[in-house]
């Protein structure tokens, strides 16, 4: 009261709150941002894998700064990393287990929560079969948790219908690598962007999505950067050559480049002869992809196609990086393979600067791919390889018959299974499909069909937790320990800075508690109490595999991150690459050329839906915004969604910037999105970011999935734009 009065008349100007001080290492800074201690860890947003320090004061995270000397981020962080401490003690955190009773969430104890979950899941499985339980996980947990969860699902609950949101993200890269090289595993390293003389980025807007990687381009003294993107993205503007290709004509461009490379002898015949198979078939396959035809398909000039091919073919070290522009496609896996074709044709692989490199999405998408037991068995072991099955069964000392004989349903097929009543209960872990899944109508129908839905998340309410029957509050980044593996296979330690909020528990503890209730804890996790126990078993299980962790220890990681593979007892190198010797994990040790045919994207525009919708991200937000919505400065910088449209299209409709429009497809309608007129997008195309639940672009995206990777075709569908409130 007196304080308020003093403030109102101006005696007090909150000077103490705005005081400054000197942190021993940060230097002069706001006094309230000076912590008692700094805890070194790894950023929990994307897969770049930046080293970060969290400042802790009175048990709260109050500051974040780049971890000096970390080899990945070189003393920098993106705006999300710089403000990551705000996500921990946030209003929307899930703090207590909640059970829905009579339509309302009621706080319950952990014992009751776990007992309820196990009881309900077991009941459903008894009634409808073991595989009627579906599990959708994430790329956000630590590797130790993925390893633990995989065993819990496949061996404990005994359902194989388990997949992660990585299928919405990196599945096409995984499948493409498998098609070409016989295994998942990005061959290159970030350093290649600094060492390559030609860098081709396809469908990768790193300036918005992986801004820290731009440093590697900046540090490259003699580079030519080529960016293929239908939108003049921030990254396209950084390029020496921008290839403004028509939506989804990337595969035609890649085949056309192969055509030019082969026809003009810009290929490494020695490499092809020694390390590949299927060259003749490819040569024949790309024959019809003449520059003239590719020019028609892509909208690029023949000169642009020649130039790109010749630059890449003649490069000393050619690097191709890609992200969702390639992956989010019904031809995603094959397009990845077509990228790999180029690398194999020219020998741009397994050398410094030379790599076909998928830049991954989530902080630990790699970890779940390696250990998770969803798209393959741990250690990239194939479900159908008898030797690998026998090896894994022996390592775990279990009957081989307990290992699933084939991969279970992928994420979209689990959802479809729920629509068709094959899946009756669902466990959703650290993901928010109510924002991220395409064609939300189908998803809502699927979830409403289920007998029991458990959502395990760090936040509540989220659009997804609202629909749960049971909510398990999870500890998040900064509240728990484990490892993340980044895009370049670099394993970094994530450390606990503060205690979990409320009664939240680490996912690791939740999984162990569940196993205990199921009665399989001692069998699956003998003597485990902490994440390191999982890590040490995983080291044993991965030994000798492509993703060999056996030489990596927590002690080693305390000194700094280490790339896999690292054999037991080996000394880590600064940078490692896969396939340096040209030997690939295929039956004959050779990489395969894949013949992939370009096809138009599934839903072409017509008179009623004349525009092609593209979706993507903005630098301020992370995925479905559950975290970044809690960070005031990021919300300030990017408070709402927008729809980008070319002024030439808008003029015909009399629309102006900031007008509210509805985005309409055959499947749904996004209401009242703010229009942004810009020449960034081509006439005939529109673009919208996907982070915002309030205006969710996935209300209009389609249910079309890559037949190989099962990744959704987010990037192209036919839409129209209406002025809000105007009936046509």
């Amino acid at each position: 009261m007196i304080g308020t009065f003093k403030r109102l008349i101006g005696i007090d100007n909150l000077a103490s709150e705005y005081a400054f001080g000197r942190d021993a290492s940060t230097g002069y800074t706001s006094a309230k941002k000076i912590p008692e201690k700094w805890v070194a860890t790894t950023c929990g947003y994307c897969s770049v894998g930046c080293g970060i320090e969290v400042g802790v004061k009175e048990g709260k995270a109050i500051a974040a700064r780049p971890l000096q000397g970390h080899p990945v981020n070189r003393g920098k962080l993106c705006p999300k990393g710089l403000s990551e401490h705000y996500i921990i003690d946030a209003e929307n955190r899930a703090k207590y287990p909640l059970l829905k009773k009579n339509g309302k969430f009621v706080r319950i104890s952990w014992d009751e929560a776990i007992a309820t979950m196990v009881e309900k899941f077991r009941a459903v499985q008894q009634r409808y079969g073991a595989d009627s339980l579906g599990v959708i996980s994430t790329g956000q947990l630590v590797t130790e948790e993925f390893y633990t969860l995989g065993k819990l699902i496949q061996l404990g609950f005994g359902t194989k219908n388990y997949d992660g949101n990585t299928t919405l993200c990196m599945a096409s890269a995984v499948s493409g690598y498998k098609l070409s090289f016989g295994s998942d595993g990005p061959p290159g390293a970030y350093e290649d962007m600094e060492k390559a003389d030609v860098i081709l980025l396809i469908g990768a807007n790193i300036a918005d999505n992986h801004p820290i990687l731009c440093q590697y381009l900046e540090a490259n003294p003699s580079k030519t950067v080529i960016v293929a993107d239908p939108r003049v993205s921030k990254t396209a503007m950084m390029a020496d050559i921008h290839l403004p290709i028509k939506p989804r004509s990337d595969l035609a461009l890649l085949n056309g480049m192969a055509h030019v490379l082969i026809r003009h002898g810009l290929i490494d015949r020695q490499y092809i002869a020694a390390h590949t198979s299927g060259f003749e078939a490819l040569e024949k396959h790309v024959e019809p992809y003449t520059p003239q035809r590719v020019s028609e398909l892509t909208g690029l000039s023949e000169e642009q196609i020649y130039k790109t091919a010749v630059l890449y073919g003649k490069a000393k070290a050619g690097f191709i990086g890609w992200t969702m522009g390639v992956n989010h496609s019904t031809k995603g896996a094959e397009t990845v393979a077509a990228i790999n074709n180029l690398a194999l044709l020219t020998g741009h692989i397994g050398r410094e600067g030379a790599s076909p490199f998928s830049i991954t999405g989530q902080c630990n998408a790699m970890g779940t791919r390696e250990t998770g037991f969803a798209s393959s068995m741990p250690g990239y072991r194939k479900f159908d390889d008898p030797n690998e099955r026998a090896e894994l069964a022996a390592l775990w000392n279990i009957d081989e018959a307990r290992l699933p004989a084939k991969r279970g349903l992928a994420y979209p097929d689990i959802i479809e299974g729920a629509v068709g009543n094959k899946i009756r209960a669902l466990w959703v872990i650290a993901t928010n499909p109510l924002v991220s899944f395409p064609n939300q109508d189908v998803l809502r129908q699927a979830l409403s069909n289920l007998d029991f839905v458990v959502v395990q998340d760090g936040y509540h309410p989220t659009p997804t937790t609202e629909l749960a029957h049971l909510i398990l509050p999870a500890a998040i980044w900064g509240e728990k320990e484990g490892t993340y593996t980044n895009s370049e296979r670099r394993v970094s330690k994530a450390n606990k800075a503060v205690e979990p909020i409320g009664e939240a528990k680490s996912d690791f503890d939740i999984f162990l508690k569940t196993a205990e209730k199921l009665g399989c804890r001692e069998e699956l996790y003998p003597g485990w109490t902490k994440p390191e126990d999982a890590f040490n078993e995983w080291r044993r299980v991965s030994k000798g595999r492509l993703c060999d962790y056996s030489g990596i220890t927590y002690d080693m990681l305390a000194q700094g991150p280490v790339q896999w593979p690292l054999a037991e007892g080996a000394t880590p190198a600064a940078t490692t690459r896969l396939y340096e010797d040209g030997t690939f994990p295929t039956a004959d040790g050779r990489a395969k050329f894949v013949c992939a045919e370009w096809e138009p994207f599934p839903e072409q525009p017509n008179k009623q839906y004349p525009l092609v919708l593209n979706t993507g991200r903005t630098v301020e937000h992370w995925h479905t915004r559950t975290k970044t919505k809690e960070v005031p400065i990021l919300e300030r910088l990017s408070p709402s969604a927008w729809l980008e449209m070319n002024p030439r299209d808008a003029r015909a409709m009399g629309l102006r910037s900031h007008d509210r429009v509805d985005l309409v497809s055959r499947r749904g309608r996004v209401r009242e999105v703010e229009l942004r007129l810009t020449e960034i997008v081509a006439p005939g195309q529109v673009f919208m970011p996907f982070h915002f639940f309030e205006t969710n672009v996935n209300d209009v995206t389609q249910s079309a999935f890559d037949p190989i990777s099962r990744e959704p075709n987010y990037k192209q569908c036919a839409v129209r734009v209406e002025r809000t409130g105007e009936v046509r």
């Binding site: 100007n13 801004p211 990017s638 070319n646 942004r676 081509a682």
Partner: protein
């Protein structure tokens, strides 16, 4: 003692054994400015990728809430698909050679550090009058309502002194922000190198930030935020205060004229009433301050600040008016000089009030219309007030009010035409506000001027009614004056600037 940044990074032994630290590009000069030199920002538009790390780092460095951004990133765009260019403009304070914030400040809260040239603001001295926020063409000083004071970028001069780079430069992954030393005399001649698309002219205050532009900018490169024109803060206490002080000044001049004509009797009551209004309005004006208790400090900047001069002249007006009103009330002779003093200080007061608003950073205010507007209010309301108190029914007072009303009507109409035909974005934007979102209010204002200004004073309508309507109209007009001004500013991002 900490070492300069460069050396420190070189001898720093990283915890990680794999790192090879490459020699970093210097983010700041290795020496201090010499006499005649100062620090400044260099922004390299060719490097910036618009990641806004600098904004987040600045807010963390200074402990500011999200709504206050001492560093901001704007967007400029040009060209046609696929030859589109979008660039970003990351701007803190320009640490101008002639800082308009400092020149306007009535309390001397601003100093330009003689050794470094950094324009530093003191939150302890500041009284929260926000005059600096109207003076800066770049929107740099920002008012923190929680604190009741303004704040701004200080180039992290305390970090610089320690040999550390400013937070923004430190955070930038592309090294687009660096600190340089500039020769001030030479820069006066070359300050055009600070001009860039999306930035107000460096001429306004000789801003020092140097901008490296891409070589091949399309000719139509420009701001992306021009379609989003928002209304400004109304500053209610000032709306209230300005109109009432002008009424009071007008009333005293009318009373003095009547007194000179020999209508002495009965003027005392009216004078005391007018004095009461002046006192009320001057008191109310301190409510506009973030720290009213320190209002007295507003006198400190007489050498430079029109706000200080306004406070002084209006105080003198109030003093003279006290004496004059007393002499009128007690009918003391020889009061011509007191009346003259009241009139002169009143006119100086209204002039000073108007001059506060004649600032380059607010183009719609930066014209003779501001002065005309304020005087017309005095001429319009003063005589009506005197008539309403029934001290004289001299017809000339009615005609004086009509003259004031007519002047205001003509001035406002001409001003609108001037705004709407201007090439300058800010002026046209003001006219778009008046003809768009504020259309009803603007038309009401003009209608009141016609009715209460031209018609009613010459009819049998009770003067009190006319005065009430006229006063309401002038308040509405002053409100429009504040909310319809579109300030100069650096280009903003398409979506930014809204409450989070």
């Amino acid at each position: 003692m900490s070492l300069p940044l460069l050396e420190r990074e070189l001898i720093y032994t990283p915890a990680n054994r794999f790192v090879q630290i490459t020699k970093p590009q210097p983010l700041m000069p290795e020496r201090k400015p010499r006499p005649g030199e100062q620090y400044r920002f260099h922004f390299d538009m060719t490097k910036c990728i618009g990641c806004k790390c600098c904004v987040v780092a600045c807010n963390e460095q200074n402990g500011n809430p999200a709504a206050i951004n001492w560093r901001r990133v704007g967007e400029v765009e040009g060209g046609h698909y696929p030859n589109t260019q979008r660039h970003y403009l990351s701007m803190g304070c320009n640490h101008c050679v002639e800082p308009s914030c400092m020149i306007g400040c009535p309390t001397e809260a601003y100093t330009k550090d003689p050794a470094t040239g950094v324009v530093v603001h003191s939150a302890d001295i500041c009284i929260g009058c926000q005059y600096c926020t109207w003076n800066c063409s770049y929107g740099v000083p920002q008012y923190n309502a929680d604190r009741g004071v303004v704040g701004k970028c200080d180039l992290c001069h305390n970090r610089l002194a320690d040999g550390d780079a400013p937070a923004c430069a430190n955070a930038c992954p592309e090294k687009a922000i660096t600190i340089e030393i500039v020769d001030i005399a030479a820069w006066r001649a070359e300050h055009m190198a600070a001009d860039a698309p999306g930035l107000p002219s460096s001429r306004d205050s000789i801003s020092t930030t140097r901008v490296t532009l891409p070589a091949d900018l399309p000719p139509d490169m420009g701001r992306v935020d021009t379609q989003r024109i928002s209304v400004e803060h109304p500053h209610w206490p000032l709306v209230f205060m300005l109109v009432l002080t002008q009424l009071s000044v007008g009333a005293f001049i009318a009373l003095w004229a009547l007194d000179l004509m020999g209508v002495g009797a009965g003027l005392g009551i009216a004078a005391i009433a007018a004095l009461g209004i002046a006192g009320l309005s001057l008191g109310a004006s301190t409510l506009h301050l973030g720290r009213p208790i320190h209002a007295w400090r507003a006198m400190k900047g007489l050498r430079r600040s029109w706000l200080s001069r306004e406070v002084l002249t209006l105080s003198l007006f109030a003093g003279a008016a006290h004496a004059y009103a007393g002499m009128l009330y007690f009918d003391i002779g020889g009061r011509t000089a007191a009346g003259l003093a009241t009139a002169v200080f009143g006119i100086l007061g209204v002039t000073s009030s108007a001059r506060i608003y004649v600032v380059r950073a607010r183009p719609a205010w930066f014209s003779r219309y501001t002065m005309i507007d304020f005087y017309a209010t005095a001429l319009f309301l003063g005589p009506l007030f005197v008539r309403a108190l029934n001290v004289s029914d001299a017809p000339w007072t009615a005609w004086a009010a009509v003259a004031g009303g007519a002047a205001q009507l003509i001035a406002q109409t001409l001003k609108f035409l001037w705004l709407s035909r201007s090439e300058a974005f800010e002026l046209r934007a003001s006219s778009l506000l008046l003809s768009g979102r504020l259309q009803k209010q603007f038309l009401t204002r003009l209608a009141i001027l016609v009715v209460a200004g031209l018609v009613m004073p010459l009819t049998e309508v009770p003067v009190a009614v006319t005065l009430a309507l006229a006063l309401a109209g002038e308040w509405l007009g002053r409100w429009l004056f504040f909310v319809s001004v579109v300030p100069k500013n650096v280009a903003a991002a398409f979506t930014s600037g809204r409450a989070a």
